[in-house]
Each structure stands twice: as C-alpha cells, then as structure tokens.
Symmetry: C2
Subunit: 332 residues, 2 copies
C-alpha cells in the first residue's frame, strides 16, 4: 500500500541502501546524477518513510509521550498543546496518554513504553502523591514533569508558586487591606502549600500574620469556591479582600460575595490565580496572577528534548508568574 524504499530504488535503478543514504541527506555520497534520479523517483512515487522501521533500527522513536490527567482542564490543555508544538518543531511526534479514574497510571506509562517513546512529559498534578506513578516512571527513560512526582528524581518544570502568593499579598497590602482571607486548594497539594507560604510570609512581613480563621479550603471548582466563601465570611465577616487559588474558584467567590450584598471591589477585593481566558471578561474583570501554562509546556518539552539529546538539565526550573491587575481589586 505504501511505497517502500525498494520501490524508489528500483525506479531510480540503484540499490535501496543507496536510496536510503541519499534520502537521508548524507551528502558526500552518490553522484549528482544518481542523487537526482533517486530524489525524483521518491517524489514521483510519493514516498513516505516508515517511522516504525526507522525507529526500530535507530533505537529511537523520535516521539515523546505526554501523560496528562485531565486535559479538558484549560490549564492542562494549554500545556499539552504548547508541549506538542515544541516537540513538533524539533521533529518529534507526541503520543498522548491520559490517566483518569478508569485507567491507572502504570498502564498509561506502559503504553508509552511499548511505543518506545524517547522520553515522557508528565502533567498530572492530581497524581503527585501516587506511588505507582513514581515507580512506573523510575528508570533510565528521560522524564520531565510539571508537578511533583512521588519518590522524587524527576526534573520539575513549573511556575514559582511561592511568588504567586507573595505577589497577591503584596498587591492587596499595597492597596491598604488589613484583613485578608484566602480560599485555597486542597491542603495536601504542593502548589497549595507553596502559595500559602509566600502569601503568609508577605503578610507576616507586613506585620499582620494570617489567622487560621481566614483560611478556607476548597476543591478547585466553582461550587467549591462559592461555598468556601460563605464559610470564610461566616468565620470572619470583617474581611476586605480574598486571595483565591485559581480562577474557576474565584468565579464562585465573586458570586458568593455578590449574594452577600457586597459591592465589588469596593467592599471586597478578589485576586485569583491562572489568568484563564475568561478572567478578563468576568464582572468585575478579575485581577489574577498569571501562570504561564504555555511557556511551561514549551519549556518542559524543550528541556525533555535536551535531556533526550544527552544534555544535562536542571532538577528544577521555575518560571516567573505575573500579577495582572484588573477591576476586582481596589482600596478597601
């Protein structure tokens, strides 16, 4: 069905080995005339090399595997797309494997190994404490992750979570807020702990430590943000600003504040995290800390490819985050 190297060689009147060399661009081989004949035979026949055969002998699939946990999530899909593009621009294919309730991490990794991917990119924050993932990933194959991997040893490419917390705190402090609450993600998560640390330290440095009653935990969802906000205000009604660990929860926070009859941002300021596409379109437009998902994907893929190419790469590389000020924050 596909034309093979032998077909091309036959038409050009050479051995298929010679055709192989010419088509692979080995210059100092073949006379200009045979070279020309081979090239045109390949074009005439519409020759498309077989990556499986090539991969088999070269012992490299020229493919990276991408292990993602939920890329209907806007953040993850941005990451995966950017990674795929970066890989493509360096000639590598991207094989996607998703992990979710039905499919365990081990199986997903194994699939990737069967295809003999040259390396694996992990974007599976929900699996950061999963020992089986850590175990499956341990081995000689290059791996790079945007989240912590259980057991360690995997280079981490991500954003500076502590700075995220710091930026949010300093912005609100600078506006003159004195009583700031926060709606955080699940406490067990690294990202949550790091953001809390940066946030907490900035507040303490300003002489107003964060009391436990101004911290409420939620589950990254709109509904979670909504109900957390009600709990937060029940626990301390004097709050004038809220730092929320992602934009989706921030929408729920805005809704809840609105229900409480608070004017935004006059009565209560809100800062989110992520800067998803809709953040600027909310009412009020959301002030948020932009997390560079695309840049992270591109960087992670680039480092993975470097690593595959034999270079050494850092064990950790954090990209800077950036505060995007819009309408949801003001002086109290």
């Amino acid at each position: 069905m596909y034309v093979s190297l032998k077909d091309v060689a036959a038409r050009a009147g050479v051995s298929f080995q010679t055709a192989s060399k010419v088509l692979n661009g080995h210059s100092r081989v073949a006379s200009p005339s045979t070279r020309e004949r081979i090239l045109r035979a390949a074009a005439d026949l519409g020759y498309v090399p077989n990556a499986m055969a090539r991969g088999l002998v070269r012992q490299a699939s020229v493919t990276i595997g991408v292990l993602a946990d939920d890329f209907s999530d806007q953040a993850v899909s941005q990451f995966v797309l950017a990674a795929q593009r970066a890989a493509a621009s360096r000639g590598h294919g991207a094989l996607i494997s998703s992990v979710h309730a039905d499919i365990d991490a081990e199986l997903a990794v194994r699939k990737l190994l069967e295809y003999r991917v040259d390396g694996i990119l992990v974007a599976a924050p929900s699996l950061e404490d999963e020992p089986s993932l850590g175990a499956a990933l341990r081995g000689p194959l290059p791996v790079v992750s945007i989240n912590r991997i259980h057991g360690g040893g995997v280079p981490l490419i991500g954003s500076d979570h502590a700075m995220t917390g710091t930026l949010a705190a300093e912005h609100l402090l600078g506006l003159g807020h004195q009583r700031i609450g926060t709606v955080i993600g699940p406490r067990g998560r690294q990202v949550v702990q790091r953001r809390m640390r940066g946030f907490r330290e900035a507040l303490r440095a300003a002489g107003q430590p964060l009391p436990e009653r101004r911290i409420v935990e939620a589950d990254w969802t709109y509904d979670g943000g909504w109900s957390a906000t009600h709990r937060l205000l029940d626990s301390d009604p004097t709050i004038t600003a809220v730092f929320v660990h992602n934009d989706v929860m921030a929408m729920g926070v805005l809704k809840a504040l609105h229900e409480r009859g608070l004017r935004l941002p006059a009565d209560c300021s809100v800062v989110g995290c992520d800067d998803l596409s809709f953040a600027g379109y909310l009412v009020p437009a959301l002030t948020t800390v932009r997390i560079p998902f695309e840049e992270t994907g591109e960087r992670a893929a680039t480092l993975l490819l470097d690593r595959i190419g034999g270079k050494r790469i850092p064990a950790r590389d954090l990209l800077p985050v950036e505060l995007v000020v819009r309408e949801s924050t003001s002086s109290p």
Copy 2:
C-alpha cells in the same frame, strides 16, 4: 536497554517464537508448564513488547492520528481528549499533530503517515476550505472529520447546526420576542451557514423573516462579539434579543449590552452556542445551545476505529444539540 523477547525466551528455555505466541495469548499452543515459565520470565524481567517491531510486521501501528487546528480552544480540547480516551479504551494510541500558522496541513498529515497511523481524526474547522488538506487526506487511509473537508469524501461527525439555529429561534419566539438580532461567525463557514438556515427558517415560519440589518458578522472572539453588538444596535436599536454563534462572543455581547445601559435579560435576551464550562457562571448565567463536544469526540473515534476494523460507517452522523435555559433570556 529494554528486555527483548529473546531475553524472555532464554530465561524460560524456549525459542523466542514460542515465547511470542504465548505472550500474545494464543491459547492452544504450548503446554501449561512452558506457558507458565514464559509468563513468569516475562514478568520477572519486566518485558514490555516493542510496538514498532510489532507494527512493522503486522502492518498496523495500532495508533490513530489526531489532526487539530487549535486545541487551546476549549471545544477542540474537549473533543481531542474524548477521542483519545475512546481510542485508548480500544487499545489504540493517539498521536497528535497540530496545524497552525507555522505548520502547513500537508506537513502535519505527512508526519502522521510516517508513523503509519491506522487512521486520522480531523478537528480543524479553520481549514475546511483548504484544498491542500483535502488533497493530503485523499487516499486509502480511513479518515473521519468533525468539520467539512475540501473536496469531500470524508465522513463527517458533528452536531446538528441547523437544529441549533432552530432551537435558539423557537426559544426566543416562544418568549414573545418580535425583533431578534444575531451575531454570527464568519459567513464562509459551514457551521455558520447551517445555523443561519435553521434560525432563519424558524423565524420565517413564525411570520417574522430576518432582515439583513439584524445580522452582524464577527470572528468568534470576545472583542468581535463586543463590537458586533454595538454595530447591531446602531443598525437596529429596537432589538430585544440576540442569538450569538458561540459563548465566547456571547460574553462580549453581554458586556456591550451592559455598556449600552440595557438591563439583562429584561431589556435584551441573549442565547449563545457551545455551553462552555463558564457559561453558567456569567452574569447573567448564559442561556445557550449545548454542543456535545465530548460525545462528538468519542463518537468520531469510535467510528474511525470501526472503519479501520473494516466496517462501513455513515458518511454523515449528526449528534443532537440541546437548549440549556439559564438567566440571560426572558420575555421582552
């Protein structure tokens, strides 16, 4: 680096061919005892079959290619994820290839062909009029698409766009609206023409044909929806409802209506299309026609796999859409 069939066979004391058969589950072969030895040798050694070698001899990569144009777009990423999962559940890998400004369609398809994917799933609405894509896809390889492909011949799996227009019109008509405007996507697009047709016919059937001045074209973006709305109201200030061709533009529409001092939905109702994750969280919560992206992805992958398996599949399969009524529509 990887253990091979020969390693397993050596440890089990059999030929590698016998090991192959046993590991492939060919039952009526091998005695229980050798069978057992082979299985445990494979387990002990951590044998992972090489999909490239297998693919080479079987002449099937057990992989599908997914060609997408912009999967940072929430709709496309939902589609791709669902397709990937459906493929995985039937044992197929998914190789992603994205097309965008820098990379032409031909090259993206060729990459997929190099990997000898068993079929291709296309999700590239922006390329529906691109002859080079149509040409690159023409051939014996099974292809299924969620958008029209230039030149035809590719089974189309999608949603019922005409019904989308009809549902929106009937909902607004039922509410008692008499002067309804619409913010459409680029006129050249199939999806736009089909939605217009359903919308127009429902209005005509109700005795109130749609005048040109109540139609404005935009580019699917928030800003496009925003400016289109100002143009629409300049052209006919008496409008009491707007049907918008996607949710992102609908956000811009809400914003523009708000700027004009209109109360929503009392002074003007809005119906979107898509039902993206944020639609229910807008203020007012958006009434919209839900497009089943995930179901489409799953169905498209399933049909492609059927096709690869030799079954006949329909040339066209449209999934029903559904009106989701929220707060952005009411009686005028």
